[in-house]
């Protein structure tokens, strides 16, 4: 049935057509965006503060107006009419254009900020100059390309967040978690770091909700020195960064699954869930994609672990004069922690891992063990087999820029809104590992009520074939599940529920579903 006309005209027919309100809203938003684009060409508009305000207000108003025109006159309920007819949300011409434009923007942002108007020594020009008044008002410093990006990012999460809340106004779970990501983005990623920079210039920029390995740079030398030099505030932040990894995150993931982070707190997740919501259905659900996902994302975990160990190792000393920690203490500590985790999994959770996951764990553990071993044989001049700095710059380029930015967000309209989270994010993989093995979270399947319609799988942004479990009456316990709750929301038969219950019986397997007589069920299940 692939014969639907994928016209890019906005004047198509319902349900793909835009109504008058939506069209005017698009024009309003485009005017706001247009002001920013004009600035790219260094058109001097004069009063920058005023134009920036006009631009942001227009973008905001456009998106809110669009949502109002799309949803206000309709009953509350699922709003997926025409998703696969619309060019933007079905990899049509508009989708590809948006993908190319976003990708281009990210390439310029990461690698050619001078085209945005960044001037190293002197006053900014162009787009970045437009943001100078706002940046100076907050932190006292002129804007950078990252300030421009951060501001636009926050505007996107807030405006599209409002749209999302409107769209899911029948679903409290969706509304609350969206309010949560909007809050964390605005307060933790945007305002607090800027204000902290104003109060204490030595503190490194620190988005407190971003924890390692998502902020892979957190333990680099300049940051550690920055924390230490800033006295008790800095030390508290460093301490917070460490207990986030080892205490706060494991505790919350145990109780609620990784959704506490990925769908309630994280900025990448926040953008994916709000601005990226229109693209969630584009994720690949094939078994092949799942296989690729597991290999790629776990490779990134290994990469970031090795890289971080190497970087920290490279600046630690052989005695305690410079830092409290020495090279040997550090590398032994890492070995102990990794071995402890590995042994625990292999001893207690062996059965819960599918075959290939086990092989993967063994393989990767061996690699890390070998690398650590090399330390003791390669002397202190060179670290591991690569230079730490080479590892760091490679990671930062490949993963930090290309994967998370250019592909992760640029490809929203082509590969779906969680490409980064699914294939690239080492944080998501680590939380997922725990979610799969040591958590109370699951998506419960409601007895035999599934009709295999496929809405859940189609709208799973992480590409999980939810239906494959639901139609067998099995709970969904998958490491990649970010707990967005959309599968449950779009289910027309009330089959799926995200919940935190006892660990026992969380992963269940039934051959015959509820509804047939009990004898038959016993027979088949105990065969």
């Amino acid at each position: 049935m692939g014969n639907f006309d994928r016209s890019m005209s906005l004047a198509g027919e319902p349900p793909k057509a835009l109504n008058t309100g939506q069209k005017l809203a698009v024009v309003t938003g485009m005017i706001g965006l247009g002001i920013l684009i004009l600035q790219l060409f260094n058109l001097n508009l004069g009063n920058t503060a005023l134009w920036l305000t006009i631009s942001i207000v227009a973008i905001f108003a456009g998106i809110i107006w669009f949502s109002q025109a799309a949803y206000a006159h309709k009953h509350k309920g699922i709003k997926n009419d025409g998703v696969w007819f619309k060019s933007i949300s079905s990899r049509g011409v508009l989708g590809w254009m948006a993908g190319i434009a976003l990708t281009g923007f990210y390439i310029v942002l990461y690698f050619y900020p001078q085209y945005l108007g960044l001037v190293k020594d002197g006053d900014n020009t162009g787009l970045i100059a437009l943001f100078d008044p706002l940046s100076k008002g907050l932190s006292g410093n002129p804007a950078s390309q990252w300030f421009v990006y951060g501001t636009m990012y926050t505007v996107a999460i807030l405006a599209f967040g409002a749209k999302f809340i409107w769209k899911y106004r029948h679903n409290k779970y969706e509304q609350l978690r969206t309010v949560s990501v909007m809050f964390f983005q605005t307060a933790f990623a945007f305002f607090i770091p800027e204000i902290m920079a104003r109060l204490n210039g030595d503190l490194p920029y620190y988005d407190l909700k971003n924890m390692w390995p998502l902020n892979y740079y957190n333990f680099e030398r300049y940051r550690i020195n920055g924390f230490i030099d800033s006295g008790s505030v800095g030390m508290t932040m460093l301490f917070f960064g460490i207990i986030s990894i080892f205490v706060i995150s494991p505790f919350l993931t145990y109780k609620y699954g990784k959704r506490w982070y990925c769908s309630w707190v994280c900025g990448c997740g926040g953008l994916a869930e709000t601005a990226g919501d229109s693209f969630r259905q584009l994720s690949d659900k094939s078994k092949f994609a799942w296989k690729v996902e597991r290999w790629v994302v776990h490779s990134v975990v290994v990469f970031v672990t090795v890289m971080t160990i190497a970087v920290i190792y490279s600046y630690l000393g052989n005695d305690t004069s410079k830092y409290w920690l020495t090279k040997t203490m550090f590398i032994s500590g890492v070995a102990v922690i990794l071995t402890a985790i590995f042994s625990w999994v292999m001893i207690y959770k062996r059965e819960e891992l599918a075959k290939d996951a086990k092989y993967g764990a063994i393989g990767y553990f061996t690699i890390i063990a070998v690398l650590i071993g090399m330390h003791f044989f390669s002397g202190s001049g060179n670290i591991f087999i690569f230079k730490a700095e080479t590892l760091r710059t490679t990671y930062s380029f490949l993963i930090g820029s290309i994967f998370s930015g250019v592909i992760g967000t640029g490809f929203y309209p082509i590969l779906g809104n969680r490409v980064w989270c699914r294939f690239g994010c080492p944080m998501a993989a680590m939380l997922g590992f725990q979610q799969r093995l040591f958590s109370k979270f699951r998506i419960t399947t409601n007895g035999g009520q599934c009709i295999s319609c496929g809405n859940c799988s189609t709208y799973c942004e992480m590409g999980i074939d939810v239906r494959a479990y639901a139609q067998k009456g099995e709970n969904i316990v998958r490491s990649s599940c970010v707990g967005c709750g959309i599968c449950s929301a779009v289910c027309p038969r009330g089959v799926l529920k995200l919940e935190n219950g006892p660990e026992e019986g969380r992963i269940n397997s039934k051959d015959v579903l509820l509804g047939n007589d009990v004898d038959l069920m016993d027979l088949v299940n105990n065969k």
Partner: protein
């Protein structure tokens, strides 16, 4: 090696094939003229509405069938020769079988209305029906109005589909209130309101007299028994379905409305079985109808017959009745039996609660003497299947259900809960003093 041939690749035939493969090494062939691969029929509406593409309705990837050695044949069986154990396919080819399973599902009912075979008149059951609707009603320029005849589950789905493309819809319902042969009055009334809210022109207590043709043999209007003529471009016939078994007429297989089967799902002919919508029990099981055209029962028959075919004879023995549907924005689930006023027995009493403003309500059926819990209908509140199944098995009384109702809630987290309100009304109605118990994971999972 036995060659198992299944005619029909719907939920019952495919479930059967999967379970035979789990239990044995037999050769399995599935024949279908409708589609190359299994798809979920219940999801067809979402394709028209643009929620999904056809490929999304296929629960298994295309490699699945080869990997599990289930051979798929795209063909139409014209004749079954049970003596020589042969199937004749359109185009002349033949297929031999050792065991034959008829799982051909249903076709839309037509009751001899004048004009029922005109262009623009159609049912909504198969993939081909959906493709036809895409041609007949691509938008509200080509289709200025559609008339839907028959107030059941397919009718309201078709209305929802057409409304998603802003096509005006007139909905002719024979009954005085929507689906009131199945739903109790309070629920049926609530759905009437919801249909009207969606700007569907609901005409209750109205029958189709005839469909009028234009000069090209296309439907241009319908005439109702109230004497009204309604101009339209599409007429949807959704007055129920009947078993799709015309090709079996002279096969010697005993037919009633469907293919007659015993509790082992065997027909009168050796090695020929029937499952799903097209199978007709000699007598309905419990309160069930002899023909059950429901997704779940099709699946359950497939599960049961796989055992028999693989050498462990098992009766089709369905457990407690359950079902679900969605009426526009309102989800519906039912567990156990709740009968409408039209068909319920004297001993069945109802407790009904409806939200003051939202489209949310429940009806609990119980025995008026023993107070035994008989069943529940729930609209706009999701409930746990396992819990109700257990309560029905244990013959719990309605007081027990009310006391532990919070355990049964299956709505997403943070949803507003209504159990306190429901139980307050129950207490007031029946002069009881029940206080609801807090939700307990222990109870929920000791059951599941």
């Amino acid at each position: 090696m036995d060659h198992i041939v299944i005619i029909g690749n719907g939920i019952s035939g495919v479930t059967l094939a999967r379970h035979i493969r789990k239990l044995s090494d037999k050769k399995i062939t599935i024949i279908s003229a409708e589609s190359d691969y299994f798809f979920s029929r219940t999801a067809l509406m979402y394709i028209y509405m643009g929620h999904m593409k056809f490929e999304h309705t296929q629960p298994y990837e295309n490699w699945f069938w080869k990997k599990n050695r289930i051979e798929l044949v795209n063909g139409f069986v014209e004749k079954v020769e049970t003596d020589s154990k042969k199937l004749l396919l359109k185009g002349g080819s033949t297929i031999s079988y050792d065991k034959l399973i008829i799982a051909t599902g249903s076709k839309p009912n037509k009751f001899g209305w004048p004009g029922q075979d005109l262009k623009g008149v159609q049912g909504l059951y198969s993939k081909q029906d959906l493709e036809m609707l895409e041609k007949n009603a691509p938008n509200n320029k080509v289709c200025n109005r559609a008339v839907i005849v028959g107030g059941g589950l397919i009718g309201i789905e078709m209305a929802e589909m057409l409304r998603s493309r802003e096509i005006p819809v007139t909905f002719l319902v024979r009954e005085k209130s929507f689906w009131n042969g199945v739903l109790p009055a309070g629920e049926s009334a609530m759905i009437n309101e919801h249909i009207l809210e969606h700007h569907i022109d609901l005409q209750l207590d109205t029958n189709l007299e005839k469909i009028i043709s234009d000069e090209n043999g296309r439907a241009k209007a319908v005439v109702t028994d109230k004497g009204e003529t309604i101009e339209c471009n599409v007429v949807g016939l959704t007055a129920g379905v009947a078993p799709n078994i015309d090709f079996l007429k002279d096969s010697g297989i005993e037919l009633g409305r469907g293919v007659k089967v015993n509790r082992f799902l065997e027909t009168n002919v050796k090695d020929v079985y029937a499952i799903g919508d097209c199978a007709e029990q000699h007598e309905g099981i419990g309160s069930r109808r002899p023909i059950e055209a429901v997704w779940y029962t099709g699946r359950m028959m497939g599960e049961a017959l796989a055992q028999t075919i693989c050498g462990k004879p098992r009766e089709y023995n369905p457990g407690h009745w359950f079902n679900s549907a969605k009426f526009l924005d309102v989800e519906y689930q039912t567990y156990g039996w709740v009968f409408s006023e039209r068909s319920k027995k004297d001993n069945e009493h109802h407790f009904h609660w409806r939200h003051a403003s939202e489209k949310i309500c429940i009806t609990v059926a119980f025995d008026k003497d023993s107070h035994q819990f008989l069943g529940i209908n729930t609209f706009g509140i999701r409930m746990r299947h396992e819990i109700f199944d257990q309560w029905l098995t244990e013959n719990k009384d309605i007081d027990h259900v009310m006391t532990y109702l919070k355990d049964a809630n299956f709505d997403p987290e943070f949803f507003k809960l209504y159990e306190d309100e429901i139980i307050a009304k129950y207490n007031a109605n029946f002069n009881k003093n029940i206080s609801p118990k807090k939700k307990s994971w222990k109870r929920i999972f000791s059951i599941a």
